[in-house]
Amino acid sequence: MNQNKDEHEALRQILRQAYKEKEKVEVGDEWQEQVMRRIRELGEIEASPSSLVMFEQLVWRLVPVTCLLILGLTLLLSSFDFISGYDVIQLLMNSTEEITLNQFFGL
């Protein structure tokens, strides 16, 4: 087990060294000119906003619509008569009882 570990560590050291050697490869000088040529072709950068900024813009754009929606719903709800759930149940129970008693006594 230990021998295996030693072998792998030795190999790692050597591979790291070999990997580092890659840096020494020489490259031509023309690619930088190519980059500048391509960049001039592209022209000025259009500062495209980041996704966070775009989200913020969307939120602000939706603010008036949301306000109108809230106002509309408030008006709609205030025009309704509110009866609590308890009242409704009691009403039903009462009328059921009445019907049943009426039927029972034949009134």
């Binding site: 591979l15 790291r16 580092k20 050697e21 190519q34």
Partner: protein, 199 residues
């Protein structure tokens, strides 16, 4: 990762470029070409280095509006460079032909010698041999783009998991898992290779 002494000057040049002075970008190119090349040379095959280095700078140019003044430009640029290299391998992986040829006897002998070596002097001698590079490339070619990038950054370059995660834009958990897996795959490859020689 070192601190960047050019940071405020870089931010100034970035501002000029974003404001419309395209030629100001040349200053950033000259300042960082060696740094970008150093990264690209290690990750990309020699014949593609110039092409990828160009793509890196184009991508940097197009991403300049997203650069935050308070960040280190060098760090930001390194991240884009590493991610461009990763994208190269992802694209390459889709169209690659899997090399079926196994390594020669000479390579296998080299591997056995490398595994048996214990002195640092011998490490340098063995690492400088042509076989070292060829075996490294052979092994890396057999890994997925994700495993390859993590193995190169963590195992070969010595970046911490956190640093590698930042460079690749991944979670540290993902880098940890990939690092473990890719190392295991690499060892398995070498083990199979040395076993095939002993048969």
């Amino acid at each position: 990762m070192d601190t960047d002494p050019h940071s405020s000057a870089d931010a100034e040049v970035v501002y000029q470029v974003v404001s419309g002075d395209v030629n100001a970008f040349e200053r950033l190119l000259k300042r960082y070409e060696a740094h970008v090349l150093r990264i690209v040379k290690k990750h990309i095959p020699f014949d593609k280095v110039e092409e990828v280095a160009q793509d890196v700078f184009i991508r940097i140019y197009q991403s300049l509006p997203n650069f935050k003044r308070d960040d280190s430009f060098k760090q930001w640029l390194s991240t884009i460079t590493v991610r461009t290299c990763y994208d190269f391998w992802r694209k390459h992986y889709r169209y690659r032909e899997i090399p079926i040829s196994s390594l020669s006897e000479k390579h296998q002998a080299w591997l056995e010698e490398a595994m048996a070596t214990r002195s640092s002097q011998s490490f340098d001698d063995i690492a400088s041999q042509k076989e070292a590079r060829e075996i490294l490339d052979w092994a890396l070619d057999r890994l997925s783009p994700e495993d390859r990038m993590v193995l190169e950054l963590v195992y070969l370059e010595g970046y911490s998991v956190k640093e590698a995660a930042k460079l690749l834009g991944w979670s540290t958990a993902k880098v940890k898992v990939r690092s473990f897996r890719s190392r295991k795959k690499l060892h398995k490859l070498f083990k199979e290779m040395s076993l095939s020689r002993r048969k």
